[in-house]
Symmetry: C2
Subunit: 191 residues, 2 copies
């Protein structure tokens, strides 16, 4: 088995596992089920990961790492809060589309295992960072004064997250259309 072939297997196993976990629920999916769906034998799956929970963890980290990487981009760090917020909103939508199976999985997580708890903790850290941007943009007078930062953050990111339910890449709605429509709503919050 060449390393290239091995990488391909790992990558496709992860993508399929994320999809199956999302559809049937993590608790309702066995390694046996994954072997059937992927056509990879159970022993080959165990060549890549030690457990079902490790597979879940890799999938969740993939979504979370991509989301957190947004905060390290220059446009998330420099400039006025309202512009940094716009950048984070734009890039979150783009990450959501690029990593759809993993973000969908992340949004289903309810915290039944240690791995899920860790993912929920990271999600909360992400939400807090975005909430702080809303608060700062309101304090700057760039977003309307009456807005509740926590509630507005929940609603705006609930809206963004809800797109995993219906948006599919390569549909007639492009990612830029989607980003544009989300930003049009966010821009409506400006003073």
């Amino acid at each position: 088995m060449t390393p290239a072939r091995q990488r391909y297997d790992q990558e496709s196993l992860l993508a399929v596992a994320a999809q199956v976990f999302t559809e049937r629920g993590y608790d309702g999916t066995s390694m046996e089920d994954l072997a059937k769906v992927t056509g990879i034998t159970k022993s080959s799956i165990y060549h890549h990961v030690q457990s079902k929970e490790e597979l879940l963890g890799i999938g969740l980290d993939r979504a979370l790492d991509a989301l957190f990487a947004v905060f390290d981009e220059p446009a998330s760090m420099d400039g006025k809060a309202v512009e940094r917020l716009r950048h984070v909103v734009r890039r979150t939508v783009e990450v959501l589309v690029a990593e759809l199976p993993y973000v969908s999985l992340l949004l289903r997580v309810r915290g039944n295992t240690a791995t899920e708890q860790r993912a929920l903790d990271r999600r909360r850290t992400f939400d807090r960072a975005v909430r702080a941007l809303f608060a700062e943009a309101i304090a700057d007078g760039d977003l309307r004064a009456g807005l509740d930062p926590a509630l507005t953050e929940r609603l705006v990111f609930g809206m963004i997250n809800s797109t995993v339910e219906w948006y599919r890449p390569r549909s007639e709605i492009t990612v830029d259309d989607l980003v544009g429509a989300v930003l049009a709503i966010v821009d409506g919050l400006r003073r």
Copy 2:
């Protein structure tokens, strides 16, 4: 068994069934499971409904009937489209909170049975009616001209629906707070 007692049973059976269907999935829940959770014998459940699918249908109709009733209110029928839209948004949020277990169930439905297909059809009819309000309000010049009515409807109602994930009645956030925060975002779409 008095009629009052019977009504109570039917009502509580429905509420618990909706919750269990939402949590475990309709396909993953047996009448046996419902009997265990409710403490009602299977034969008593069959006294109320003929099948699991009938129970699902009653739960879904409860959410859908409440949502469609919003369109029959005078404020949804009279006045400018933008005001009718605002009213529908406000009342949808209120219905969602009042009928939380049934709306949550509705939002999980993927169309695996005839009953689910019928519910999805009714949801699509609801969405079309709201989309028409967005289009009319944009045509009236009351919402910004550049907005895509279909995409904006999906995003705004995706935002509203996402509140079932975290909002709980009698929390420190009142329904009026929630309605206010949603309307603040919708009002941002005005010209």
